[in-house]
Structure formats: structure tokens, C-alpha cells
Symmetry: D2
Subunit: 406 residues, 4 copies
Amino acid sequence: MPIQFDVDPSVARLAEATAEFVREVVIPAERECGGSVHDAPQALRETLQKGAREAGVFAPHVPKRWGGHGLDLRGQAVVFEAAGYSVLGPLALNCASPDEGNMHLLEKVATEEQQARYLRPLAAGEYRSCFAMTEPAPGAGSDPRALRTTAVRVPGGWRIDGHKWFITGASGADFAIVMARTDGSPGSSGGATMFLVDAANPGMRIVRNIDTLDESLFAGHSELVFEECVVGEDQVLGQVHRGFENAQVRLGPARLTHCMRWLGAATRARDVALERAGTREAFGSLLGDLGMVQQMLADSEIDIEASRALIWRTAWELDNGTASAAQFSSVSKVFVAEAVGRIVDRAVQICGALGISAEDAPLARLIREVRPFRIYDGPSETHRFAIARRAVKPYRQPRQAGTAGS
Amino acid sequence: MPIQFDVDPSVARLAEATAEFVREVVIPAERECGGSVHDAPQALRETLQKGAREAGVFAPHVPKRWGGHGLDLRGQAVVFEAAGYSVLGPLALNCASPDEGNMHLLEKVATEEQQARYLRPLAAGEYRSCFAMTEPAPGAGSDPRALRTTAVRVPGGWRIDGHKWFITGASGADFAIVMARTDGSPGSSGGATMFLVDAANPGMRIVRNIDTLDESLFAGHSELVFEECVVGEDQVLGQVHRGFENAQVRLGPARLTHCMRWLGAATRARDVALERAGTREAFGSLLGDLGMVQQMLADSEIDIEASRALIWRTAWELDNGTASAAQFSSVSKVFVAEAVGRIVDRAVQICGALGISAEDAPLARLIREVRPFRIYDGPSETHRFAIARRAVKPYRQPRQAGTAGS
Amino acid sequence: MPIQFDVDPSVARLAEATAEFVREVVIPAERECGGSVHDAPQALRETLQKGAREAGVFAPHVPKRWGGHGLDLRGQAVVFEAAGYSVLGPLALNCASPDEGNMHLLEKVATEEQQARYLRPLAAGEYRSCFAMTEPAPGAGSDPRALRTTAVRVPGGWRIDGHKWFITGASGADFAIVMARTDGSPGSSGGATMFLVDAANPGMRIVRNIDTLDESLFAGHSELVFEECVVGEDQVLGQVHRGFENAQVRLGPARLTHCMRWLGAATRARDVALERAGTREAFGSLLGDLGMVQQMLADSEIDIEASRALIWRTAWELDNGTASAAQFSSVSKVFVAEAVGRIVDRAVQICGALGISAEDAPLARLIREVRPFRIYDGPSETHRFAIARRAVKPYRQPRQAGTAGS
Amino acid sequence: MPIQFDVDPSVARLAEATAEFVREVVIPAERECGGSVHDAPQALRETLQKGAREAGVFAPHVPKRWGGHGLDLRGQAVVFEAAGYSVLGPLALNCASPDEGNMHLLEKVATEEQQARYLRPLAAGEYRSCFAMTEPAPGAGSDPRALRTTAVRVPGGWRIDGHKWFITGASGADFAIVMARTDGSPGSSGGATMFLVDAANPGMRIVRNIDTLDESLFAGHSELVFEECVVGEDQVLGQVHRGFENAQVRLGPARLTHCMRWLGAATRARDVALERAGTREAFGSLLGDLGMVQQMLADSEIDIEASRALIWRTAWELDNGTASAAQFSSVSKVFVAEAVGRIVDRAVQICGALGISAEDAPLARLIREVRPFRIYDGPSETHRFAIARRAVKPYRQPRQAGTAGS
């Protein structure tokens, strides 16, 4: 079959239903949390997820045996974008970060018992989870090899000690997936292992909920301390020492689903700008007929279509497990994160004072929400580094002994 | 005398004293308002202004006869930048917007009685003021000719009716300078007039304090309604029908002092990034030794020096009342507003999670504060329009009758 | 079928054969014309086309009944990119501008007699052609409505008078397709008509071959004068007065095939940069391991993939004749023209002096060739204008009588 | 004296005379070499220099005792910009690269005998010279430490062996200043020494004149070979082993004078664009009244003023020998080289086909001339590296033993 951009009819129907649900139910609910999802009440989450179930749009990405629609990544690309039109949309559909990525990871690497215990209720929206990897300096940040949290064997299991921060959704989560070093030392890749830690474990403690620029993820970002946190052998997720590899299992698609949701947010900003441009007059002309405004509007259309085309391409590469999938994943992450930032920024500029007011339009919130996307899930620089390394590789000459340099 | 970039020794001393005051007194006080100046308590303002007086750095721009240092704009360029290093600095020195611009306007166009009644206490920090010009759509926004608030003659004075928003500092201000149409109709330039309206006037009412992206100006931005707001003839500021011209008296320098203060904020962001780059390691290297980080650091140095050079040049043009002053004012506004945005954005990117946390570094706040600067005091597009018009003017051919177009 | 990026195996084989032919035959021939196609000898064209026929890669876009491979636009996207790897590649495959677009136009709107007389030899490489639309100021440039060349009815046919310039391939062409106004006046869209004019017609005269920045199109760009150029009724191409509409028949796909070919050129520049980055040392490091170089390399990878994804999407829209095809055509033109410019520019920067030398690498030539692409076939600004108009349209409020503005 | 942007009256007069001379004499002469200075005849150089002498504008930078106007760098900033308005202007005034930089170097480090022998006729326009530093890979490029050309002591002097390329003005030059390694090995800074080599020396040979993208420097760029090139002890320029340091004596100001001349070229491109914008109509409007064109025009005004302000600042720093001079020199080089590129690029875009034609406007040539400026005299990346290093230095923490990294 040749190159093809038709959307599968069943996916298109689900996307339309999602768009309608977001428009009719989710956007009106934004007022209830002032647009900030960080501090949204648990009741709002429950109401929205109930609404999504009734609208038949809940859990689009979840395999059918766990109660979802079982979409592949191309299907998710279409539906998640529709959900992302409101910052509350992904929460409503139970496809928000970090739960969505954790479901994918558990589906791929958890044992059957672990899936029954953790994945089933997570997919149903009964549980929430977090993914505890990032550490304060000099620990694991954009460079995961700097990992400092350790897990050592103790009789019957492992003891985890360390310090994590910017752990999204940790506050109120039912369990955490924790990355800890089980081999090597900070700076070497060595070996890491993932552990499932229940919220009730007294060795895991939230020390702070961080006040961040963005506020669009349920329960916000927390700082955690692990002190003599003991877990049983059956709490190891995936194989021992294979944590870095398994993190890639999660991060590849998780990066892309981030792109999908944020592209939806960008289309919201674009629509606000278009409505303004189509109705507001300035300098004796409709705003949308002024050349500099047209330039901004056109550039946002271009950014949206280029982003969507890259996301779809990457979804196809990942769905087919191609050798280029990792490269496309990085390419999309950088391009979409930066494009989304530009699109929202232009919308703010076009809307003027209205773009600055947090009450009169969603833009003043969106500009805060999208900025960290260039940092989360690997800063643009880290991905550019990886992209360039892969591109240069076939041309790389072995360094000759005796030449300049160290 | 040839081209010359030496700073006058007395100005240099005042700038150093300001920098020290900001470092020792103002920055530690930032915690008291969580970095948000919008909701800072009046007591904090009084404490900081008292400190500035004791440090001998209060009111650098105020003429000596009103108790200030009497700096020209070149002197202000150096000192305001030092003050802007903290968002609270200009408040402490009583050179924050909108009071600073209003002082300048009153100095230039107010009668002696009006100066004694309004300028004296404003310069001393006893009063606060606001400048009520911007209106919600379809009123005066980036296009002042759309002005809809009216003032009509009544026996003994004028009656003002209209609707204003994004009026900075209105909440708690002792008086407002109000722009109202006294001739013509919206869309024509016609004639506008400025009025001094006391806070006690029952015809002026705050209907809302707007929740905005930025929070760096004392008392925030408010929405005001004028209903049968009657003022006496002696409350006319400047000449009747000359309001648009007088607004330029205020805006030319006010735009530039904005640039000065924000450049100071940008140097703060730059320093945070440099400290991070000089101390944090990633990928087996100091952050500041990684090429992509170096590129960001270098670009910020370039942006800072280009901004400073343009501000100084524009200050010199304004100090000398040259024919190019208006053009330079627009050139600086566009360049500096955009450069400051880039500098803060790069600092956030370099600092990663730390740049996103509102508690751990000032960047997550600064990125919110600087964004509106590209909109306030004339959006970049309006200034670019004016710059291009002036540049094309000498080359413009009269349109021939009968050619294409309307 | 869902979203799908697999290339049809027969297309993939043709693309591989094309890539091999370009590598083995075309690139070695570049020396013969010093990389400049403008002044390449006719003999070189014949040799290359003969080679392409022997390699089985000639005329990929031409319908099978005229002797080509009959690829749709998605197929062309893949093969033209491979051909564009050398500036001589499209000439060799007989899919260079303007002949390629003219073939498409003749296929769509010519009568059977006209196809036999003009399309058959054009498709076979026996004829060359040009498309005479652009006029010097104040005639038709980026605004086609300014068309000044006229055609008036004379007994048995039409008389064409006017002035054209930047007519690619005119020198030595066997016939021209000429756009002339047959109704209305310059500035109104009115009606235009296309005419087939034989090179032998004494009323059509080349007055100058223009020395342009780019030199990558066979026979370059010429200035033409039409004086009492009389043609018969059977030389009308398409319907009378439908010239503007028919121009779109040509330009929609022609713009996209330009993008395909130039993307191929960009991949050449990228490969030169990668080879340099993988083998050259500076500052004690491989060039490709320096962060700032990595940033450029990564940005070019991103630009290439985003360009390719947009081209493929647009090809699909055009192949399916969707309502969005025109919008996608403009989106791709702007994005790809600018991306290609950036990619070549970065390659030059990475290669340093080597990128500046016209003898030691193809970059110094390529940077000249790709610049005009942002102007030809509609400057970026014209396309952005069209993109914004379409985007605003659904939101546009009818202007109220009596509001501001003219 | 405070900050000050007035131009000294005598400098202003010289700049005006230069502008007039360029307008009346130099620009008309551009046709004689088709805008390409590379291949301009020697007679044209002589005629133009004679004209400059008669107009009293010859050698503005040359000390009075050698027959020039003795301007400091601030004065040169104003006059060189006026000269650069035509690519032939600096040649006419004898302030073109590389002679201008070589005069400065000889003035600073040559012995009195060397000055009499080389500087006097060079300043008078009787001699031409070149500066032979750059080498083909893997020799000295953007990293001077990679220097491979060697000079070893022989009885009575030195023997130079090596390979240089991109040596501007070498063809027909009367002497070369040659940089050769006299200590250490490629990759270490070691010690280099400069030598004065007469054109007649049989050990120095031009092997190729390189066909480059740019053609704006008299006699173009050549490739040279040194084979057993023996020079006397009195041909050592400056101290032995101090070549790298002395190169900085030349490069600091030489970089800035490049900026001055290129800024003049940018103002030419800007003027062409303004004239077009002020006279050409499109879409029923004057080009200069279209918003997207206004944006380009405004951005070029901003780029020009920011460039000029940075150049003047840097000239002042260099004139006063401040500690910041080197940093400002790099800041200006990067900013101005990139700004000039943008300005010319925008002018091309505004002028459309006219911007592409090498005959109808100077833009198609200028876009070729300015591109290499981002590479010559240190590519932007090398300067950004240096700028960032200096900025980070005060914050740099010593790396701790045992931390991550090699």
C-alpha cells in the first residue's frame, strides 16, 4: 500500500466523539479549577472520567482486555490531539501523563500478577501512579547515567535509598515506579532497575509539592525521599539491571503521546487567535487582514501541519517497530515542543491584553503550560545531541592515534 | 566630542549603590511576596522605599527640586538597569511603572498647582497613581484612535464616561490620569484630553483586578468604569484636545525606561544561567562547556550588549530631542522586548527543572513577567509598522490615479 | 486503511535506480558544466537523458501512454527527491521545471491534437518548452491579477502583445505557453487565456538572457517581447478566459514537484556536511562531536523529515483531490522552501572555507540555487497571505457599516 | 563626559565626502567589473584610488605620517560604513581587506626599516599585500592551533614550508605576511612566527585562484604553496614565537573594520528595498504598505541600528584598550555578520525577481558577498565559544576529583 493519510473510520468516529465531549463537557469544567490542573480536586477527576465513560471515549489507548479502545499509536495520535484541546481532556480520558506512559510500560514489562495488581486498576482510573526517575543535581536529570538513587539486595528483596524531584502525580498516587541504580556508579551507565513501590510504603515520603511554572498535570510535581524503603522481590518491574533499557520502552511512545496532547492544546490557542483575528478591528482593518497578523496565523498553520505530519510518521515507525523509530521519536519531540511553544506565543501576541489575562482567554495559562515541554522528557538539546550522533555515525572516521586532541 | 561610552562618575556611583542595595536589601525581600509584586503588601513597599532613601538611591529620575537625583535618560539607563535586577527594585526606588512615567508627564505638562498637588507627593512615594488609557475591544488598544471613553463639558468642568482595563496600579492609587475623547469619533484621531481624577471621585470605580500572566507591577492591573465622573476645569492635564500628543510626551521615555528595567531583569536571568553553567555537570562535562549551552550563553551576552547599546543610543537621542528620537524609541522597544524574552527563555532552558520551579530560582517567575513586555506600551507589530512607515517615507511615490487598487 | 508511510515497492525500486543513476552517472557529469545548468550544453542534456532511458528511470511522472512510468504525486515525491540529489538529475530524467509542469498542464487541458503535437515530443525529451507568465513591474509578478500582456481576437485567431521576463527555459525552447489578458484590466482578475506559441513565430522574441543568482535550470531565465504575435484559434490552450484557473492546474502540483526536487538537493548538502563532520577535527575534537555543530546537524535532520512528511501529505491530498489540497500546497511551499534554505546554509557553515569554494564542494553553488526558491512559484509572503485567508475565513465577521476603517 | 553619540565634525565631513564620492564615482564604476571585484582590472583600482585622492577621502585609517587621515576606530566606523556602500568603495579608499588590516599590523609590530619598505608603499596604494594564515584541512582553520606550515632556522634566516588557501589578495600582491609554526606541534598552541615574504621569492607559489561564492575582494582568494621558501632574519615580523599573539593585534580591529564595511553594504541593500517598497504596487497596495513587507523593513532598520551601536561601542573599547575589548570584538563580529546576512536576504525577498537578477539590482551579488562573512575572520561558532567561555569564567567551579566524566 502506498503512502496514505486517511484516518481509519472507527478512529475518526472516536476522535469526533472526543472532540464533542471536550467541547461540551470538559471545557465548561475548566472554570472549576481555574484552568490549573495541579490543584484540581479529585472529585473533578472522577466526574470527568465518568463523563468520558458515558461518552464512550474513555481510555482510548488501553488494550481491549483491560477495558480500553485498543488504539495503536496512529489512532492515539488522532484521538489524543482531540483530547488535548483542553488541559483537562487527557485527565478525563485517563490518557494523561504519567499514568498513560506507566500503563504502556506495565503492559510491556510487568508480570501477569503485577498487571492484575497495578495495571488493571490504573487502566480503569481507580488508581493513579507516578514515575520516579529525575533527581536533583548532581543526580539524574537530562543525563540518566548520573542516577544516584540506589537499590541494594536485602533478604527477601531490595532496599531503596535516594532523592527524587519533579515527580509528576506523586501526591496522592497509589504507587510509584522507581528507578534505582543496582550496578555501577553515577556517570557510568552501569545497571539500573525499576521497582513498584506502594504509596503505603513508609520508606517513600513526599517532602514537597513544587510550585512550578506549569500547572496542567493532575497533582503537580513533587519532591520525594526514599529512606530504607524496602520492597519484595516481586516488586521488581522488568529484569534486574535492565532499568535504562526499560525506561526507553516507556519514553519512546510517552514522548510522542506528549506531542499529541500538546498539539491539541496548540490548536486551541490557534482557534482563539483565529476567532480574535476574524472579529476584532484595528487601524481601520480587521485584525486578520493585517499582514503581520497574517504572517503569524500562517506560520501557526504551517507549524500545526508539520507537527501533525511528523507525529503521524513517528507513530507509524513505532507501530511497525522500525529501526528509525528512535530517531523519529527525537525528531518529533524537538520539533513539536518548539512548534507548540511558537503557536501559543503567537496566539498571545495576536490577542494582546486578552492573551495576558488568565480569566478572559486560556492563553495566559497555556503559555505557562507549554514552556516546560521543551525540557520535560528530555530537553531539546539532549534530543538534538542524539539526533546528530545517529546522523554522523555512518560517516564517522576512527580517530587516528597521534592527531590533535585528547 | 566624539562617540563615547564612559559613564559619568556620579552616575556610576549611584548605579553601584543601587546594585548593592538591590543585592543586600531588595532580593532578600523577594520571599516576602513570593516574587509576585502584584499582591505585595503596602507595608513592603514602604519598607523598601525607606531602605532606598537610607541608601541614598531613592528617586534617581526625579528632578532635584522634587527631591530626586535629577538624572537624564542616559543616567537613568544605567541606574534603572541596576534597579531592575529585582522585580522589586524599581518599586523600592520609586521608579516603577506607571508612577515613573506619570511623574515625567506631570513634570512636563502639569500646571504649578497640579504639580504641587500631585507630583510632589508622587515623587516622594506618598502617593501612587495610574494611567487610564487602554480600553476593552472595540476601544483603544494598540490603536489609540479607537478611543471610546468620552468627556463632555458640563458646567464648571467635564463629565467622563467610559470603560478601561489593564490599568496598572489602579487598585489603591491616589489618583488616575484618564484619557478621554473630547472630539471626533472612534477610528478618527480627533481630539482627546487627559484628566486628573482623584481616587475619591465616586464616578470612577474599579470593577475587577485582572488575574494576569505577569505579576511584577505593584497592585496589578484593574478594570475601571467611569460613570458620570465629573471633574473640575482645573483637573484638565495639559491642553484640551491635546491628549494624544501629550500621551507621546509620556510614552516616548516611558517605553525606554521599561527597556532599562527589563534589561536589568534579563541580566539577573543570565547570571542564574551562568552560575548553573559554571557549576553543574552533565554528560561528563561542565554544563558551560557543552557547545549547545555555550551557544545559548553567547547569544544572551550578545542580546544584552546589543540591548544596552540601543538603549543608551536612544536615551542620548531623547536627551537631545533629536528628530530620530521617536524612531529609536520604537527600534529599542521592539529589540529589547524580544531580546529580554529570549534571554530569560534561554536561562530557563539551561537550568532545566530548576528553571521551571517557582521556588528554587527566579526564572519561572521571570518568564511570566517578561512575556507581556512584547505587548505592553505598544505591541512589537505596532512599533514595526511605525518604523517601516518612517523608513519608506522618503521613497514613497504618490499613487497614480487609475492604477490598481482602491 | 489507516495512516501509512510505506513506499510502494515498485516506486521504491525506481527511486533506488534513480539514486544509483544520479550517483554513478549524473554527479560525475556535474563537472562538465561547472555545476551551472543554465549554460549546460544541449549535448550534455541529450547524453544524460539517454543515460536515464538506459537506466530505466526516464520520465517517472509521465503517463504510461506517453512513455513514462505514470507515477502519482506520492510516487513522484520519492523519485523526484532522489533525482534532485544533483541539480542535473531532474534534467536527466526529463522531470525538470518548467517542462515537467507543462507536461502536466498539457495532459490536463490540451486537446488531443495539441497533445500529439506538443506533449508527445515534450514527454520524449525531443522538445523543450517554457511557461510565459511573469512580467516586469508593474505587470504580473506575485500578484497575477496585474497581468498586462494582452491577446485580442483577429480574423482566424489572436494577436498577443506584451512583455515577459524570468521565463525559465525560453532560450532554445520549441514552444511557449503564454498567459495573456483577454478580458478586464490590470488589477482586476478579469479573464486571461493561455496560448501555445511556436518558437518560430516571428512575433515572439527573446531580448535578453538574464544573469541570475541561480544557475540550476537548463537555458536559464529570459526576457521576452511579444509584438503582433499572431496565433491561430487552435493554439488556444484550455478555454478562453479561463487562463487563471488553468494556471492553478499547473501551479498546484508544480509547486510541490519543486519542493521534491529541492529536498533532494538539501539531502545532498546535508550529506556533504555529515561527511565533513564525521572526518574533520577542530579544537581537539571531531567536528561532529562539537555541540554547536551537532545542533546544526540535528536541525537539518528535523527540517528534512518535516519537509518530507509535509510533501508526502500534500501529494496525498492532491492525488485525492481533497478540499484541503490548495492549503497544503501553500503550506508545503513555504515550509520546504525555507527549510531547504536553512539546510544548505548550515552545511556551508559546517564546511567553512570548503562551503564557500565553488570547486571543492557543491555547497557554494547550492546556496545560490536554493535562495530564489523562496521567491519562484509564489514568494513565501504570498503563500502566507493565502494560508491565513483560508484559516481566518470561518471566523470572519462581516464588517459592520459605520465602524472604523475605509 | 557622559555617554555620547555625536560624531566628531571632522569625521562627519569626511564621511559625507566619502558618501558623495561613492555615489558619484564608485557606484557608476561597478558596471566595469560587473559588480565582481575578484576579477576587477588593476587599472580600475588605480582609477578609483586616484579619484579618492582627489576627493580627499583616501586612506582614512592610515596615520598622518604615512599620508592618511589618522582616524581612530570610532572615526573609521563612520567612514568605512560610508565606503562599504559599494563593494568597490573600500578598494577605492585603500581601506579594503586584507591591506587595511596588514597596515595596522605593520604599524604596530614592524621595525622602522620594515615600515619604510612595506608599510609606506602599502599605505600609498602602490603595493598590495596578503595575510597567509588559513590552511586546508587538517591545518589551521577556525582553530589556529592546528597550524602546520613550519619555519625552521637556516643560516642567515628561516626556511618556510607549507600549504595555505583562501589567501585573499595573494594574486598580484607585492608581499605576503606568512604565519608559520616555529615551535610545538599541530594541536598545541606552541609558538608561531610571522614572516614578510616578497612576491619575488621563488619559494612562494600560487597554485590556484579559488572560484568562491563571494567575489568582492580584489584579486580573490588563492591557494599557495611554500616550498623551501627562505627568508632573511630581517623578514621576521614581530618577535619569534609570538605569531599567535600578533595575529590578535591584527584580528581584533580587522574583524571590526570588516563589520563596518559590511554594514555599509547592508545599508545599500536596505535602500534598494526601500526604494522598491516605496514605488512598486502589488495586490492593490504599495508594497511598502503591506504588513509582511513592513515587518521585513522594520527588522532591517532594527538590525542596522543595533549593528551600528555595537560597532561604535566596540570601537570605543578598542580605542581605549579596555579589558572588555576582546569580548566586544567577538560580540560585534557574530551579531553584525548575521544581521548583515538577514538584511540582504530580506532585501532580496522584497525585490522578488529583481533581487535575483545580477544585472538589474546589486542584491543578487550582495547575497553572495555577505554569506562568507559568517565564516571569514572566525566563524560565528568560534566566536560564540569564546564569548561563552569568558562569560562562564567567573562562575566556574573547579571540577572535583571523582565526579562523573573523563
